[in-house]
């Protein structure tokens, strides 16, 4: 008999229970407070503390490091459900886990893991990842920040731009990429080095005034003769570039999940609104023009979900997933942007106020096409994977 394998996109009982729990948490804990925090551009410290207690920051890590013993897909499900309600909270988790903790887990020494992971997994400490520089993000190989070994101490000089979670009361360290020498082929040797918060010479500029993600913490950082032990090297010397490419590949699946959540949140809010708001004596959703806009939103949200489920399942099976991750990130971030625009349209003038979630979604969507690789970068990756 021929064995037929069909694709099964249903969630297992445990994933489904996790999804429901996070949905409940987002509804009960995040939704009631986020509007006001967003207006004030305030970091949601109390929500983050509760996310920590719920174990969200430990989702993909083994129990021996204080994690929940889950996997990267569990993290993605949590991100989707959080972003369905709010993206600032979701990106705080995404950056904390996939950019902050993951490099330590994947590339750190056993000592670094023992020192940081239990607190990172508990959400007591946030780690940040500093790759982008004021002079450029996409061209990450052009890094100008330098680290020079002086005996058993790295001396770091340079600056980083747009670093998420780098200035919160929870921030424990930033892993920065820096030029540590020259490769035999003449290119830059790039390595990752962990810089604890509060190290002399490491300064955090005031937060950016951002269009969206207003409750997420983002700063420019500068390093002036910052000295950290040689043992703070994360992973192998000279492997910094390859390491962050791997981290970004995974991170794209997480951003795709987050984008799917925003796209789905637009559907949720628009269905509710189109059913209750009346014009010309009937709910606006009874007009085909409105109903079709919402139907198209649903198409984009569910397509995005399938794309990230596919990329995540390949990754968990240990198969190559670079192309699928780029596809998922591209499809989902564009879906988020399109859905936010349409959802705001469905809400009319109220959609342009901060009293409705869709106004926030509209402001939060654009960055998804920029962060962790712009849409142009995703297209470049996909084309390259196709041999072009």
């Amino acid at each position: 008999m021929v064995e037929v394998r069909v694709v099964d996109m249903r969630l297992s009982e445990e994933y489904e229970a996790l999804r429901k729990t996070v949905a409940e948490f987002a509804h009960d804990v995040v939704a009631p407070v986020i509007g006001e925090l967003y207006e004030r551009g305030e970091f949601p410290a109390d929500v983050v503390r509760q996310m920590g207690r719920l174990g969200l920051f430990g989702l993909p890590f083994p129990e021996e490091y204080g994690g929940m013993g889950g996997d990267y897909f569990a993290l993605c499900l949590a991100l989707e459900e959080l972003a369905r309600v709010d993206s600032s909270v979701a990106i705080t988790l995404e950056a904390g886990v996939s950019l902050g903790a993951m490099p330590i887990y994947r590339f750190g020494t056993e000592e670094q893991r023992r020192e940081w992971l239990p607190r990172l997994a508990a959400g007591e400490v946030l780690g940040a990842f500093g790759l982008t520089e004021p002079g450029g993000g996409t061209d990450a190989g052009a890094t100008r920040t330098t680290a020079v070994l002086d005996g058993d101490t790295w001396v770091i000089n340079g600056s980083k731009a747009f670093i998420t979670n780098s200035g919160t009361e929870f921030t424990g360290f930033v892993t920065v990429t820096a030029v540590t020498g020259q490769r035999p082929d003449g290119g830059k040797e790039i390595s990752s080095i962990l810089v604890p918060a509060g190290t002399p010479g490491f300064s955090v500029a005031p937060g950016y005034s951002k269009v969206g993600w207003r409750c997420s913490d983002t700063h420019e950082l500068s390093f002036t003769d910052v000295r950290v032990p040689a043992a703070n090297l994360v992973g192998e010397r000279g492997r910094g570039y390859a390491q962050f490419l791997q981290i970004l590949d995974e991170g794209r699946i997480a951003i795709a999940a987050l984008s799917t959540g925003l796209a789905q949140g637009c559907v949720d809010e628009s269905v509710r609104y189109a059913n209750t708001r009346e014009a010309f004596g009937r709910p606006i959703g009874r007009n085909q023009a409105v109903a079709f806009m919402v139907a198209d939103m649903e198409v984009r949200a569910s397509t995005s979900r399938l794309a990230y489920y596919d990329a995540a399942s390949r990754m968990l099976r240990g198969e190559p997933f670079k192309r699928q991750a780029a596809v998922a990130k591209l499809v989902a971030s564009e879906a988020a942007m399109d859905n936010a625009r349409a959802a705001t349209q469905v809400h009319g003038g109220y959609g342009f106020t901060n009293d409705y979630a869709v106004g926030r979604f509209y402001r939060d969507a654009k960055i998804l096409e920029i962060g962790e690789g712009t849409s142009e970068v995703q297209r470049m990756l996909i084309a390259r994977e196709l041999g072009l």
């Binding site: 009982e13 445990e14 229970a17 996790l18 729990t21 409940e24 948490f25 207690r53 719920l54 174990g55 989702l59 129990e63 929940m68 013993g69 889950g70 569990a74």
Partner: protein
């Protein structure tokens, strides 16, 4: 100290609920089912007491197959094991019949405390804990805002219209708790995974030695004769203040017997 928490699966409190036209019972298939929110406080209180005093926390539920989900949720919050009374003959049981089943099931378990939420959000009678205590011949400490256990004495605080009561009893005892008592935890993913491996026993009416006439629609003391949809909400009346607004409001309130 061993604790049994009685929990119930109910239709999502926020969902629009329907009754079955055929037997006037709740149509449980048409809406999402969740753990009765008020029972989450009971589970949390049991887990807090267990953290302080040790012992086991057992979750007891009576309900259809699907109600097993509610046991799983309590197990993922941290409870140790579950007991599920499931039998087609239970359909339509009222509070009296339910209390008979729960009392029998509790008779098969070892416990020092039984904890209930104060009511279920679908039936809202608040009588099952008292009925169960009566059937078991156990002291009942109801509407607790705080529970303390020392040796074999359980002490609760209760807030009433007249002030604060402190009530105590010897264990074994039955306690019901109100929302104010604690903040229920969310299950963690570790808890969700661990719950899969925790034991759940199922019991039928025959296992409990109950006859079909003692439970279900047949064994219930109350029955729904007829029901009608809630009338649509009336538009409120708007009082225009022409210098006499206060008087008009007072007249309205007096007319409704509020003042």
């Amino acid at each position: 100290m061993n604790i049994v928490v009685c929990v119930k699966q109910v239709p999502d409190s926020w969902a629009e609920k329907k009754l079955n036209p055929s037997d006037s019972t709740l149509d449980r298939d048409s809406v999402d089912a969740v753990m009765n929110e008020l029972d989450e406080y009971a589970v949390e209180e049991a887990l807090v007491l267990q953290e302080a005093h040790g012992g086991e926390v057992t979750i007891l539920t009576m309900g259809p197959e699907k109600a097993g989900e509610t046991i799983r949720k309590a197990l993922s919050m941290g409870a140790d094991k579950g007991v599920h009374v499931v039998d087609a003959g239970l359909h339509g049981s009222d509070a009296v019949a339910t209390s008979a089943v729960l009392a029998k099931a509790l008779g098969t378990l070892e416990w020092d405390l039984v904890i209930f939420g104060i009511e279920s959000t679908d039936a809202r009678m608040s009588v099952v804990p008292a009925m169960v205590a009566e059937r078991l011949g156990s002291p009942q400490l109801s509407f607790a805002t705080k529970v303390d256990v020392a040796d074999s004495t359980v002490t609760i605080q209760r807030q009433t219209e007249y002030g604060f009561d402190t009530v105590e009893a010897k264990t074994p005892a039955v306690v019901s708790v109100v929302e104010k008592i604690n903040e229920p935890r969310y299950p963690s993913f570790k808890g969700i995974m661990a719950a899969k491996k925790k034991p759940v026993t199922t019991l039928t009416l025959a296992d409990l030695g109950l006859g079909a006439d003692e439970v279900g629609l047949a064994g219930s003391w109350s029955a729904v004769d007829e029901f009608a949809a809630r009338p649509p909400r009336q538009a409120g009346s708007v009082v225009k203040d022409e210098g006499d607004g206060g008087v008009k409001i007072a007249e309205y309130l007096a007319g409704q017997k509020f003042i």
